[in-house]
Symmetry: C2
Subunit: 160 residues, 2 copies
């Protein structure tokens, strides 16, 4: 069995999703949610993200992690802020000895929705369906993190 944590980084909210994959390929949901931080000093927010992620990794002990690569959309200021949180997430993973696989947004869409240009909502609906959840996981950051985790399944040999 192999456990993967998917991470959707952010300073206000970092989404996470933890999945187990059995030898036969069956997938089960271990946990998902967000680490939220209070508005204020960015250093303190990053510290909250770091502590929350440290606790999650200690509790769930994933074998590996998947983190989406960042690209530039319209909002470059947001991209820089997300990148800061991403650095803190990569640090927490390195300190916990969890190897990281970086996935692109189109790899995530392809893996989950079967189409590299699927829209955000399609991806979220497909995540719920693939994981046999009654409804789309909330908030969005948690659903996105589950999609990222899903896209990294089978990376140890078998491809979906």
């Amino acid at each position: 069995m192999s456990r993967v944590v998917g991470i959707d980084p952010g300073t206000a909210r970092l989404g996470y999703g933890v999945l187990d994959e059995g030898r036969g390929g069956q997938v089960s949901v271990v946990a998902f949610g967000v680490i939220s931080t209070e508005p204020g000093d960015v250093g303190l927010r990053l510290h909250q993200v770091f502590l929350g992620l440290e606790a999650l990794l200690a509790e769930t002990k994933p074998d590996r992690a998947a983190v989406e690569q960042l690209f530039f959309g319209q909002n470059t200021t947001t991209a820089l802020a997300v990148s800061q949180a991403r650095g803190v997430a990569l640090l927490a993973l390195a300190r916990a000895g969890v190897p990281v696989c970086e996935v692109t947004p189109s790899q995530v869409k392809q893996a989950v929705a079967g189409w590299g240009r699927a829209d955000k909502r399609q991806v979220q609906l497909m995540v719920a369906r693939l994981l046999n959840l009654d409804r789309v996981p909330e908030p969005d950051d948690a659903a996105d993190a589950l999609a990222v985790a899903w896209s990294a399944l089978g990376a140890d040999g078998r491809r979906r």
Copy 2:
């Protein structure tokens, strides 16, 4: 007396410069240099940056820190990588309880060279002169970090 550390973030090299400012406004150099990391996994590099910065802060015990704000130049991939290291630096500062002042590149140029559009080399030459150093500090990242520290002097009331 007040001690400020200036930081020029990066994954391969993080520059730092530590300055003391006396009550009369006299400034002395405490330390400057770079924290260098080995090529390889970005998480491990960020961890080296984090550990190096933790050690520097424990040793020099600055009262506050100055970190340059990032803007987008030509190379957006570099900006994202620098931003990751910047997040790790802000985390280390928050954990050490060091308040951070963010300065813009033009504030740094203005403070050091007297002109917000001075070029990189002018800024470095002026840093050496202002700090009574025989030559421009090397590598560039260390000189840049000293310039950032200089720009934050007097921020506790007196303005240069």
